[in-house]
């Protein structure tokens, strides 16, 4: 033994130092506060299936009514897989493991009771330029477990710089892929939004529509077209709604202009696309909504497409302005001011998030501080009344909460 003293002493030091470090790390852990969503008023069931993707002092965590799940509590492999992986994607991956290989983007997926469909843009990348665009389509019949796949070249693919998918839907055996295609041109507005129709039984491209092609902008120059539907919605909506954003029509080549000058926003138009009939329609939104739209350039707010209705939401000094417009009959369904107590109006600074779940509007503060009284509010869409109020509390320190600086990234329905 004595002869080995050099080796033995090194090994002893190694075991003691590295061992102590990792044992200490495993046992001490970090005493992370156990945040949980608690109901302040109203029915607690509205908070049961939601969770908040958040961050507290450098740590990522998910807060629900059950408590908190911190990223560093995950096993090594779970951490590799990812903490915030979309729960819908997770579920699809476990249900249809083979089909879901390499398909992680929720915007490229469609699901209903019968099928699961997927579309992806393929292209060649050479010397910093993408070319040769085609669309790969894969469909899984849930009942028979049969898979079919085909690839179709993007028509006039030479004209595009890039093509990416906004949405995938299947209606009566026709798969409709909404894409944004950037034109290979130096012009100011060079994006086109297309809807490609694929016949799934014959595996062919049957139609290539351009959104808003015939629309003559009533004001200014078309800047861009944007799909407004929720990106992670897999099916259900009858309409796709596009916002066409117009800016002032000026010659950008004018030498008197500042090189960074960006043309000023003039207004938006809304275009609905009926997925069943394929009809494009420009809709006349009420003046109040148009007014809200303009203000929303500077104040927090959002436009949400849900259940064939457009919801215009703007944060004001006293609460929210909420206008619900029915796409089906073209009428303003309701116009509400949601009153929010003065103490909670720090919402305005905190740029809240909005989600519509089961005909209720969820309003979530993006930052929760000690002073935040009602970080989660649930309002009735019809009456504009705040029905339920939820808060985030540190369970360990009891009711006398002392929390600050929880940032909320997203509200997720499980």
């Amino acid at each position: 033994m004595i002869r080995y003293w050099k080796s033995i002493s090194i090994i002893l030091v190694v075991i003691l130092a590295i061992g102590a470090f990792y044992i200490q790390a495993a046992f001490a852990g970090k005493s992370n506060p156990e945040f949980a969503i608690t109901t302040k008023s109203g029915d607690e069931t509205v908070f049961k299936n939601i969770s908040l993707h958040s961050n507290y002092q450098m740590d990522d965590l998910i807060i629900s009514t059950e408590g908190s799940k911190y990223q560093d509590e995950l096993s090594y492999v779970d951490r590799l897989v990812g903490f915030y992986t979309n729960s819908k994607i997770k579920q699809l991956q476990s249900d249809y493991r083979s089909f879901m290989r390499g398909k992680g983007d929720i915007t490229e997926l469609y699901e209903d009771e019968g099928i699961l469909a997927y579309a992806e843009v393929e292209f060649k990348y050479h010397r910093g330029e993408a070319s040769d665009f085609s669309i790969d389509i894969e469909v899984l019949d849930k009942e028979s477990k049969e898979r079919s796949a085909f690839t179709v070249d993007v028509p006039e693919k030479k004209n595009y710089n890039y093509v990416y998918i906004n949405d995938v839907r299947v209606i009566d055996g026709t798969l409709k892929v909404t894409t944004t295609n950037a034109l290979r041109s130096d012009q100011f507005n060079s994006d086109e939004v297309h809807i490609y129709h694929f016949n799934l039984t014959e595996q062919t491209l049957v139609k290539d529509e351009i959104i808003g092609a015939e629309q003559e902008g009533k004001h200014g120059k078309l800047d861009y077209v944007r799909l407004m539907n929720d990106y992670d919605e897999l099916s259900g909506e009858k309409y796709l709604v596009f916002e066409m954003v117009y800016v002032e029509d000026i010659n950008l080549e004018d030498e008197n202009l500042h090189p960074d000058y960006y043309p000023e926003y003039i207004g938006s138009e809304f275009l609905t696309y009926n997925l069943e009939t394929g009809e494009q329609k420009r809709i006349e939104i009420p003046d109040e909504a148009e007014q809200l739209m303009k203000q929303m350039r500077d104040t927090p707010g959002e436009i949400i497409v849900n259940n064939s209705k457009l919801h215009f939401i703007e944060v004001t000094e006293t609460g929210l302005e909420l206008i619900v417009y029915n796409i089906e009959n073209g009428e303003t369904e309701s116009k509400q001011s949601v009153e929010i107590p003065k103490t909670d109006m720090d919402l305005q600074m905190n740029w809240p998030m909005f989600k519509i779940i089961d005909d209720k509007l969820y309003i979530v503060s993006s930052q929760i501080d000690r002073e935040t009284q009602s970080p989660i509010m649930v309002a009735d869409l019809n009456s504009g009344d705040i029905l339920y109020v939820g808060t985030v509390e540190d369970r360990d320190s009891g009711q006398e909460k002392e929390i600050y600086g929880v940032n909320i990234y997203d509200l997720v329905v499980d």
Binding site: V13, A17, F21, V77
Partner: protein
């Protein structure tokens, strides 16, 4: 077994002097670094606050507080770590080639030992592993000492105190050497030791076939890397993501073990059949 342990001890003993010098340089440079940096910071603070009469708060706003993160990012700290890393990369080769140089080639006696020749390879590898872990341990022991030294030299209002884990987690290269999870630690050093075995095999190729062997060794390194990285090469090369992350994880562990085993087996073959004195 006893022969193997004897050989390990022997290899460690042979490198002990240089090893202790490396440790000495590390300790000295890092401790001196803490003191020098702390003194400089305090001197600067004194000058700015008393001579230029800048209020304390404004000084901190402008120059920031002093903490271990400043020390850890300095050349005093990184320098010796880089030196040790370079020394060990060199030593992977030196541990073999030094047996061949000199008049009475030592490798002749090693190969004549009444023990499996594989033991020679394993003992050399083990010696390197133990000493690398030894250096990591020295760093782990030094960190709290350096924190303490910093506390003695910089007044409370001017410094940020950090725990050892916080210091490590805030520094990207320390985090590779000492990751926060033990599994990651095993993975990092597992990959390191796989590389050591691959290089040993390449060296033995060279020792067996000389110039032609050197070429074979390089080819072997390439083949081993391609095998180990195959899933990633596939995913990037074909722009296809076929595997789930957890599958890649398991496949990589299997491939890593496979490449290490293949290297050891090939080395054994070369040592037994081909190596020339």
């Amino acid at each position: 077994m006893k022969r193997y342990l004897k050989l390990v001890n022997f290899e460690i003993g042979r490198f002990m002097k240089i090893y202790l010098v490396l440790i000495g340089i590390t300790i000295l440079s890092q401790l001196i670094g803490v003191i020098v940096m702390a003194k400089n910071y305090v001197a600067n603070a004194n000058e700015v606050i008393f001579v230029d009469s800048l209020p304390l708060e404004q000084f901190i706003e402008q120059y920031g507080e002093m903490g271990m993160m400043d020390v850890v990012g300095s050349i005093w700290f990184i320098g010796p770590i880089a030196l040790c890393a370079a020394a060990f990369i060199f030593y992977i080769f030196f541990i073999w080639y030094r047996d061949w140089v000199g008049k009475n080639t030592f490798i002749y006696r090693l190969l004549m030992l009444p023990t499996s020749r594989l033991n020679i390879l394993l003992s050399k590898a083990t010696a390197i592993f133990i000493m690398v872990f030894g250096l990591v341990s020295v760093q782990l022991i030094l960190l709290p000492i350096e924190s303490m030294l910093l506390k003695w030299n910089v007044p409370f209002d001017f410094r940020i105190d950090m725990t050892v884990s916080e210091i490590i987690n805030n520094n990207s290269y320390l985090f590779i050497l000492i990751p926060d999870s033990f599994i990651q630690f095993i993975i990092n050093y597992g990959i390191g030791f796989m590389v050591v075995f691959i290089l040993f095999t390449a060296i033995l190729f060279e020792r067996s076939f000389r110039w032609k062997g050197a070429l074979l060794g390089i080819i072997y390194c390439a083949i081993a890397s391609i095998i180990f990285l195959a899933p990633l090469i596939y995913e990037i090369g074909f722009e296809a993501s076929f595997f789930y992350t957890e599958e890649i994880f398991v496949i990589e562990i299997i491939l890593g073990i496979l490449v290490t085993a293949m290297s050891i087996w090939l080395s054994k073959l070369l040592l037994n059949k081909k190596v020339t004195v």
